[in-house]
């Protein structure tokens, strides 16, 4: 992985979807009145005949997508994650997940990455989608992973939910990093703590690992881009290593039903008796923001929050190490 500040890319998903569509005539693109925001203005410009405006009608859009998939198409459905999951949940359950159809639901703007208030924050989307049989749930960390998503999910036999950061996408991984739907990957090896992160929290997890490492606490960082089906082998290998005294999860999502729950269930069923801390939204809606940075700090999703969680859980004495803020210039990204 790279060191922060990270360079940024624009529209890595949108460009990758166009590339897929050039090779695959069965790829359709549906948009719920958020075409530019979900990067599929690129698709619309090149493949207008395969682009469908669903309008502000998510229930109908999901129902149509299911029927199109029954007829041999691979529909990619785009809107914000919060609208993609809460509003048409019954439609996704009955018209897509139950018949196990290859609809790809692409939800942008995960968790508290938006200042748009609780109505716009997808803070339970992973939990909702994870509860549906047949659904694959993906939460990628950076542009290198994002641009692999369209081709990677195209041939999954059943439905896939992907949550994607909107706007400026950091490049965290080296360009040869390979995203796999059946693998979590150990990004940093450590001995004392196993820290699992998904999506936007990977950058903060890496920063926390560095800060704690400087104080003699060795933290492994495991990137979990696929929450379901979870790579339980990698999770258990990391969580049950003999030297590990603490397992931590970090997700830009409620601590109920997402990555933290998935790891907890896996550990409990395997009898891994290690303490667990879940970093994420603590069963709350997130209010009062001009920007996402404020929300990440206020609601405990910052690098400092991860460091403090680990420091306290390990019973370390003294104050936790301060986290140097890496200044991000124009065209750069650093975690909160």
């Amino acid at each position: 992985v790279r060191e922060p500040p990270y360079p940024i890319e624009l529209k890595p998903y949108g460009r990758a979807l166009v590339e897929l569509a050039r090779r695959r005539a069965d790829v359709l693109c549906l948009s719920g009145d958020l075409t530019r925001q979900t990067e599929v203005d690129l698709f619309q410009a090149e493949f207008g005949e395969r682009f469908i405006h669903g309008g502000m009608a998510e229930a109908n859009m999901m129902g149509m997508a299911g029927a199109l998939a029954r007829c041999g198409f691979v529909p990619f459905v785009h809107t914000f994650g919060v609208f993609a999951t809460r509003r048409p949940y019954d439609q996704i359950a009955n018209a897509i997940a139950y018949p196990n159809l290859p609809v790809r639901i692409i939800g942008f703007m995960p968790g508290v990455s938006t200042p748009g208030g609780p109505s716009h924050q997808a803070t339970d989307d992973v939990a909702l989608m994870r509860a549906l049989p047949n659904m694959t749930v993906v939460d990628v960390a950076d542009a290198i992973e994002t641009r692999q998503v369209p081709a990677l999910v195209a041939d999954v036999p059943g439905p896939v939910y992907v949550r994607l950061k909107r706007g400026e996408i950091p490049v965290i991984f080296d360009s040869d990093h390979v995203l796999r739907l059946d693998r979590a990957s150990v990004v940093v090896a450590g001995t004392d703590v196993a820290l699992f992160a998904s999506g936007m929290m990977l950058a903060a997890a890496l920063a926390a690992s560095r800060a704690l490492g400087a104080c003699g606490v060795s933290v492994s960082v495991i990137n979990v881009p696929v929450i379901k089906p979870l790579d339980t082998a990698t999770v258990l290998a990391a969580a049950s290593a003999a030297s590990v005294r603490l397992v931590v999860t970090a997700e830009n999502h409620s601590i109920i039903g997402g990555l933290g729950s998935a790891v907890a269930e896996t550990m409990a069923e395997a009898g891994v008796g290690c303490p667990l801390r879940r970093v994420g939204l603590r069963d709350t809606f997130a209010e009062g923001a001009l920007d996402a940075f404020y929300l990440f700090e206020r609601y405990g999703l910052s690098t400092a929050a991860i460091v403090e969680t680990i420091w306290t859980a390990l019973g370390c004495s003294g104050v936790p190490p301060s986290v140097p803020v890496v200044a991000a210039g124009g065209g750069e990204y650093s975690p909160v």
Binding site: I52, G55, A57, N60, G63, M64, A67, C71, A93, A95
Partner: protein
């Protein structure tokens, strides 16, 4: 969908759907018989109009699947033995339609979703350059679901003229008459205002329903809707006046009377 190429007089098929539905519901002593009674002519007309292997049938309200099942049994599309398991443990002929339900191309027990599926089929056919028709059975109670109107807007905007909705306006829902719970009228004007071609017809006049389906098939600008005015008690005089149309109770004595009545009507029709 599969439809037998040989045709059955739609009046006779409607009668036989009622009789078959009575026999399917009788073992449990209760069930969605009212839905079969109100939609029998619509089902008979659709099975007469849909081209085998080309056109699609959507049964939006899963509770109505008894009608297509009964028609399929009468037309020899499924075996009598299979359909006799209707509503029983382990049968694919579940009382409320599921993904395993045979006979139709789409059904769903969560109401108000079928029209969106019909739109997806229509779009897919358009992408494929096919002129296949989509026959979508929808119930008036479903009009209380917002998704139906989302779909109605979309279908008209995209001029999905191969789509025809058979709206079973039987004025029945779980809590009572639809018009005592929500004012849907003027139903025809609503669809018309949404950009649909509307046929407001007697849903128990099977020739009228078939004729409207033909006229809708000739329409090349708009999707069509047949607002079929019906009753959940139609064609079965032995039902008590207070029968709950959504979920009719059919104890053995009443079932026997119903079989007798419908058998007599069938013999009279054939005479």
């Amino acid at each position: 969908m599969r439809v037998m190429s040989e045709t059955l007089d739609p009046r006779e098929l409607a009668l036989r759907i009622r009789l078959r539905a009575v026999r399917m519901v009788a073992p449990q002593g209760f069930g969605y018989l009212g839905q079969a009674l109100s939609s029998a002519e619509q089902v008979a007309a659709v099975f007469g109009a849909a081209r085998p292997g080309v056109d699609r049938i959507v049964c939006s309200p899963g509770h109505y699947i008894i009608g297509p099942f009964a028609a399929a049994a009468e037309l020899g599309l499924v075996s009598e033995g299979d359909v006799s398991g209707y509503g029983q443990n382990g049968s694919v002929f579940e009382a409320i339609g599921t993904e395993r339900s045979p006979v139709v191309d789409y059904t769903c027990g969560s109401l108000g979703q079928g029209l969106s599926a019909a739109l997806g089929f229509a779009l897919a056919d358009r992408f494929h350059g096919s002129d296949a028709r989509i026959f979508a059975m929808v119930s008036d109670g479903e009009l209380e679901e917002g998704q139906v109107w989302e779909a109605a807007l979309f279908a008209a905007h995209h001029r999905l003229d191969r789509l025809v909705v058979l709206l079973d306006a039987n004025n029945s829902q779980v809590d009572g008459p639809v018009d005592s719970i929500t004012t849907l009228e003027p139903i025809a004007d609503k669809w018309s205002a949404f950009g649909w071609r509307v046929f407001d017809i007697d849903g128990h006049d099977v020739a009228g329903v078939s004729g409207a389906l033909r006229a809708a098939g000739a329409e090349r600008e708009r999707p069509s809707v047949l607002v079929c005015r019906t009753s959940t008690r139609h064609g079965l005089d032995c039902l008590p006046p207070d029968a709950d149309g959504h979920f009719i109770k059919l104890p053995p004595s009443l079932a026997a009377a119903a079989v007798s009545e419908l058998t007599g009507k069938l013999e009279a029709l054939r005479a």
